[in-house]
């Protein structure tokens, strides 16, 4: 594998964007603040990034990027209710910005920033409605067909798998549901797979291999602490005993791009995302952004730097972005040379990021990426951007190493999802899964009514298995919604279980829940679950947690 133009690469770079949102859908409410998580991500990250990537492709630049699209995100992007509500969200912001432009009519420094935000939102609206006809999945499909991006699936409902390995049938079901929904949306069987939170444990490679996955990603220490020790450190993938290629995250690329305290996003020239206009505007002029009782961030910001009170300068931010892109590309090329090894294979640097970091958390992130991709393609660097497939096809021989249990969460393991504020969610879920295992294992699921109830039971359980809720409980601000969601799923599971135990009908409840949260519509989850249970029993995987 050589560069199209310029000298042979000294470094390979893989850029992956993990795109996920928790499943939030509330048709029963006119206005649901938690639905704004997706609206914000679309406005501030997905559309700006897709816009830039389309521009790069139009300019004939080859920049292979990898995008993970989680099944819950796919479901929401393909949901008419969410589409309609997204347009309402945009219109609310455009209305708000009119009042902001009026508010700053005597302050040109701030008024031009309000205009900048209005142009940004109008651009989102034009792209979303007129250019893309509300079909963001269609844009991803088109870019994939054009070879500009590679798409990867993740598990069904973003379960953090190391905490579910006492139930291998659920791990298997989560993996299968993710693969099936990806194939349903994109018509292809993917080679790569994204593990939520990079959560890996020895033995998970067997499940992935069994389901046709060829590669996945883990955090650096997962490979570094693997057995036997990796001779190339994190400069190359390893192969697990089950034959999966595992690509380790590069921590330098992580820190420079993602960490505000030591990387580019913390530069005081950049927009201060923490000082939101909804907390500064006059209340009566700005409904529904600033409610009578509460205010919530609306994505409109005017100031640069965390500490300063200087109005944001788009020109200065642009110049700094160019500098940071140059720095990224030049340090990647210079700082990594094969050392202490007999071969001269250039290192592979895997930059793994949450997509929402670019734009939502780091306002200038999409612009930085645009500059970086153009520099990489410019022939002045010895860094070559690759997809996992390109790299693995060029370097098919790698060391056999079993990575250790690990994640990219705080402290590198499971403590974000298992601590004092959230551990209460596991025992009831485990109890329900043991009940299900006994029931389905006994074969007593013949009649159609029972199958419908158990299908819904599995949907409720999978929705509750999402790591998002435990994560939110770990960091307090969204705790109330997360706990309410979990408790709601628990109540639904109890009602469904009671109907099974008393052999009574639950048609209305099942129908209501299917309408409310139509997770994986049309998929017979119970049939999949039975298959997963049989596989786990056959493989003798029940019993040890890693």
């Amino acid at each position: 594998m050589t560069s199209d133009n310029g000298p042979a690469p000294r470094t390979y770079l893989l850029l992956l964007f993990n795109t996920h949102q928790p499943y939030v859908r509330h048709p029963e409410a006119d206005h649901c603040l938690e639905e704004n998580w997706l609206n914000e991500a679309i406005t501030e990250s997905y559309i700006p990034l897709l816009d830039r990537i389309e521009g790069i492709a139009r300019d004939g630049i080859r920049a292979p990027l990898s995008f993970v699209l989680s099944p819950t995100l796919l479901l929401m992007l393909d949901d008419n209710l969410r589409r309609q509500r997204y347009l309402t969200y945009l219109d609310e912001r455009l209305g708000f910005l009119e009042t902001e432009i009026h508010r700053f009519r005597g302050q040109p420094d701030l008024c031009r920033i309000a205009h900048l935000h209005r142009r940004r939102i109008e651009r989102c609206r034009t792209l979303f409605t007129e250019m893309w006809h509300g079909d963001l999945l269609g844009v991803f499909r088109r870019l994939r067909r054009a070879g500009a991006i590679t798409l990867l699936p993740s598990v069904g409902t973003h379960a953090y798998l190391p905490l579910w390995n006492l139930f291998p049938e659920i791990v298997e079901l989560q993996v299968r549901a993710g693969l099936m929904w990806h194939e349903h949306c994109f018509g292809e069987k993917p080679e790569g797979f994204w593990l939520p939170e990079c959560g890996y444990y020895p033995g998970l490679d067997v499940v992935l291999a069994r389901n046709g996955v060829r590669h996945c990603f883990v955090d650096a220490h997962g490979v570094l602490n693997g057995r036997p020790g990796p001779v190339r450190g994190t400069d190359a993938p390893v192969h697990t005993p089950a034959g999966i290629a595992v690509l380790p995250r590069d921590l330098t690329a992580h820190r420079q791009v993602w960490v505000e305290s030591e990387g580019y996003p913390g530069d005081p020239i950049y927009l201060n995302r923490w000082r939101d206009a909804s907390f500064e505007c006059d209340r009566p002029t700005a409904p529904p952004i600033a409610h009578e009782l509460n205010r919530y961030p609306c994505g409109v910001r005017y100031w640069s730097g965390r500490e300063s009170a200087r109005p944001y300068s788009p020109e200065a931010a642009y110049a700094r972005c160019v500098e940071h892109a140059r720095h990224f590309v030049s340090t990647l090329g210079a700082s990594r040379t094969p050392a202490d090894r007999s071969d001269d294979r250039p290192p592979l640097i895997a930059g793994l990021y949450d997509t929402e970091h670019f734009g939502h958390w780091w306002f200038e992130g999409p612009m930085w990426l645009d500059h970086t991709l153009r520099l990489l393609a410019g022939g002045e660097t010895q860094v070559q951007l690759v997809s996992a497939r390109e790299y693995l096809a060029a370097y098919p021989v790698n060391q056999v190493v079993q990575p250790t249990t690990s994640s990219w969460g705080y402290q590198g393991y499971s403590e974000v999802w298992l601590m004092g504020r959230n551990h209460w969610i596991y025992p009831p879920l485990f109890d329900g899964l043991e009940w299900l295992r006994r029931l389905v294992g006994s074969g007593a699921v013949a009649n159609a009514r029972l199958r419908a109830i158990l299908n819904r039971y599995l949907r409720e359980s999978m929705l509750a298995q999402a790591s998002d809720w435990a994560f939110m409980m770990h960091s307090e601000p969204k705790q109330t919604y997360a706990a309410t969601r979990i408790e709601g799923h628990f109540r639904n599971m109890q009602k469904l279980r009671a109907a099974v135990d008393s052999n009574s009908a639950a048609d209305a409840l099942v129908e209501h829940l299917d309408r409310q949260m139509p997770l994986f519509s049309g998929m017979d989850l119970l049939a999949e679950y039975r298959g997963c249970l049989e596989t786990s029993l056959r493989s003798n995987e029940l019993g040890i947690a890693r």
């Binding site: 602490n225 040890i544 890693r546």
Partner: protein, 126 residues
């Protein structure tokens, strides 16, 4: 009888949750006189052995109240396999486990120092 789940938090810390049936609870705390009050949690190192209840390499014992149902425990050595028991001591001081957990493998916390000759494999994507 009951059940116990033993979950990994990090290379040293684990979370144990248990449930003991009402029947067992009555027997434990009703009719029997205990030599120590409350529950006793045992954390056994069962690395590379088929655990039969009495053959662990070593164990750590912690006293817990009768009403508790979970415990965060710091285990001594990363990279080992542990199993937990929730039980009590009878009037003769004998340990009687009520429930036993799954085995839990703690990941190693550091890179391997002594590295064997590496094995290599080929992955053909087709």
């Amino acid at each position: 009888m009951g059940r116990a789940y033993f979950l990994l938090k990090d290379p040293h810390w684990a979370f144990l949750w248990w449930s003991i049936s009402e029947d067992i609870r009555k027997r434990l705390f009703g009719s029997l006189s205990l030599s120590r009050p409350g529950l006793s949690l045992r954390f056994h190192d069962i690395t590379d052995i088929l655990f039969d209840g009495g053959n662990s390499h070593s164990f750590l014992e912690v006293a817990a109240s009768e009403t508790s149902d979970h415990w965060y425990i710091r285990l001594p050595v990363a990279g080992r396999v542990y199993c937990a028991e929730v039980g009590f001591h009878d009037q003769l001081g004998r340990y009687l486990p009520a429930v036993r957990s799954n085995a839990l493998w703690l990941p190693p916390e550091a890179p391997q120092i002594a590295r064997p000759e590496p094995l290599w494999s080929r992955l053909d994507l087709g």
